[in-house]
């Protein structure tokens, strides 16, 4: 059995208490440990992704107990790529937090950051639904701390909303898990997939309820309209680097939907027929529209970016809810793009904040380092709005191509293209007010010399932007790989047989047992 697959969970879980207990008063040691940990995570994640790139399934049985009875971690192409994406994003976010000094404006930033990573990694790797709930809680608990990092009244109020909304989501998750367990007697995803097909058509009431509840829970995480209300204020009020890290958290919801609704409740399953096309697709289209209209309507830059995240999640969900291999492949390509672009924009809005009293979209005197910040904002906005030449454009093309010929094709094309236009106008308005109109305002005489953001901050944002460029340049290879990922998701038999079929301890009764 390969033990590396549990390393992305165990490593942050060990580093975080070390940071709290041993390095509490030494920000330098905390930074060094945190960065080293994230670098190691990238190495481990890259190794895991390489190992499963041939289509094999990595299985880790905790305590060597066989699958339906013990908890398993499973690595396939999808989960390892998500782990790698998280680790890479974490590195740049961490560099920005160090460069901008955010990590020193409150206590325990690095410890919470590591716990957050542990939760996200675990959620991507686990093969058990209850374990998924536990890792959701781990990442949420850490995110509550990160969200209100450095305090402030507005942030605390947004934090209350964020915590309460997610607590409701967790309760709903437990209701869903209870109904699933009552109906099938298992919570292991692979075992569940086998058992759901065995339910007689007239006994499916409970499992239908469970499937809808579970979809609602994941839709809350993915901020699909009408369950998106927690996102704008909490992402806008969270510290810049934290909001950038949260860009991956909405993707955890999208990942869970892809995983559960291709494997456990696949689209051709009669029990849940209509759930994807009838409910999820229209909801996704509405979130795309609402997000982009929000971009145009926002009065503050951080809210604008938060709404653009809702919009891009809507785009991801539109592509997912097609539930075709092409749709999932396009969605996976767009998930990578949207994570990087969203994170970069949150960091840029924090750069803008460095030189201004607030982030409201009104003309104020030019900020320090305005040229570089404006250039980065320009690139980030192009990526998020989906203009050529960056990966947002390619991602949208892939989504449109995947939607070609589907039932709601006219709606999808109209809303995707229309919302892109609105998004471009919104970002253009924000950029011209923030950066161009600023030159017409005379800086006040008694203004203190404004502090420029540190070079490390620019390195972090520049790193994310260059990753976006790489995502565009290597789009062919990336899309080929996401296509094989989607192929693996739609042929889950190797996954199921690996998880359920691998014997563990006491699988074959020995004489002493009897």
């Amino acid at each position: 059995m390969n033990h590396w697959i549990i390393a992305p969970v165990v490593l942050p879980a060990l580093l975080a208490p070390f940071i709290v207990l041993a390095a509490r008063y030494h920000i330098g040691i905390q930074r060094a440990v945190s960065v080293t940990g994230v670098l190691m995570l990238i190495g481990i994640a890259a190794g895991l992704a390489l190992q499963v790139s041939d289509g094999s399934i990595l299985l880790y049985q905790l305590g060597d107990w066989a699958a339906p009875f013990g908890i398993v971690l499973v690595g396939d192409r999808l989960s390892t790529v998500m782990v790698l994406l998280t680790a890479v994003l974490a590195l740049f976010v961490l560099l920005y937090a160090i460069g901008s000094g955010w990590d020193n404006r409150g206590w325990h930033f690095h410890a919470l950051f590591q716990f957050q990573l542990m939760g996200i990694m675990g959620a991507f790797l686990t093969g058990d639904l209850f374990n998924l709930f536990v890792f959701f809680e781990v990442l949420l608990i850490a995110s509550y701390g990160l969200m209100i990092h450095a305090g402030g009244n507005a942030r605390l109020r947004a934090g209350v909303q964020y915590v309460l909304f997610n607590l409701i989501g967790s309760t709903l998750f437990l209701f869903a898990l209870g109904s699933i367990y009552a109906e099938t007697g298992t919570l292991n995803m692979a075992d569940l997939a086998n058992r759901v097909t065995m339910i007689a058509p007239e006994d499916t009431v409970g499992i239908r309820v469970a499937a809808v509840l579970l979809l609602l829970v994941f839709a809350i995480k993915a901020a699909v309209v009408p369950l998106h209300f927690w996102l704008p204020s909490s992402y806008a009020e969270a510290p810049g680097p934290v909001a950038a890290l949260f860009a991956i958290m909405t993707k955890v919801g999208a990942y869970a939907i892809i995983r559960v609704y291709t494997m456990v409740f696949p689209p051709d399953l009669e029990v849940t027929a209509g759930l994807h096309t009838l409910w999820l697709l229209p909801a996704a289209l509405v979130s795309l529209a609402v997000g982009m209209i929000g971009v145009l309507a926002a009065k503050r830059l951080d809210r604008l970016v938060a709404f653009s995240v809702i919009g891009s999640m809507g785009m991801v969900m539109v592509s997912i809810s097609l539930f075709t291999p092409a749709g999932i492949a396009a969605a996976l390509y767009y998930i990578v793009h949207s994570t990087l672009a969203g994170a970069a924009l949150f960091l840029i809005s924090d750069l803008v904040r460095t030189g201004r009293a607030n982030l409201s979209l009104t003309a104020q005197p030019p900020i320090a380092g305005t040229t570089l910040t404006a250039a980065l904002f320009f690139v980030g906005a192009i990526a998020m709005a989906g203009l050529p030449p960056l990966s947002g454009f390619l991602g949208k093309l892939l989504v449109l191509d995947a939607a070609y010929g589907s039932g709601l094709m006219v709606w999808i094309w109209a809303i995707v293209l229309g919302s892109s236009l609105i998004c471009i106008v919104g970002f253009a308005r924000a950029g011209s007010i923030l950066f161009w109109k600023a030159h017409s305002i005379e800086p006040p005489e008694d203004a203190d010399a404004m502090m420029r953001p540190s070079p490390l901050s620019y390195v972090a944002v520049g790193g994310l932007v260059s990753l976006l460029v790489a995502h565009t340049v290597f789009a062919g290879q990336v899309h080929a790989y996401t296509t094989t990922m989607a192929g693996q998701l739609f042929a889950p038999q190797p996954y199921l047989s690996t998880v359920v079929g691998t014997p563990g301890k006491m699988s074959k009764p020995t004489k002493e047992d009897n």
Partner: protein, 118 residues
């Protein structure tokens, strides 16, 4: 017994949902706790209700109760307990800071005053 448990879950969920829809933190947190009680009982009942049966193998016993929901409920109780404590602390901090315990977004005029430097 099934009726009792089911109606208990139902009543607690209804009460919890009603309180959750209030505007101020205190009733919302109370509603949250009611809802977690409801979900704990619901999880417990998901392994079917049996009275006086052991959860682990014993000699001379033929009827068992499902041990897994008990383990699940234990996890759920611990998490919801901790979470309630966290939300009480954050809610208290927000109330003491801005002298206002509404859970919705502050209105536009109020927004300017609440927006302190971070």
């Amino acid at each position: 017994m099934e009726f009792l448990v089911a109606s208990a879950v139902g009543v607690m969920t209804a009460g919890g949902l009603y309180l959750m829809l209030r505007l101020r933190t205190f009733p919302v947190i109370l509603g949250m706790s009611l809802l977690t009680y409801a979900v704990n009982v619901f999880l417990f009942a998901s392994g079917r209700l049996t009275v006086g049966a052991p959860p682990i193998l014993s000699d001379g016993v033929t009827v068992y109760t499902d041990p897994l929901p008990q383990a699940l409920v234990l996890t759920a109780i611990v998490i919801s307990f901790g979470m309630t404590a966290v939300v009480v602390m954050i809610g208290l901090g927000a109330f003491l800071g801005s002298d206002d315990d509404h859970v919705d977004d502050p209105s536009e005029e109020e927004d300017e005053t609440v927006q302190g430097p971070s």
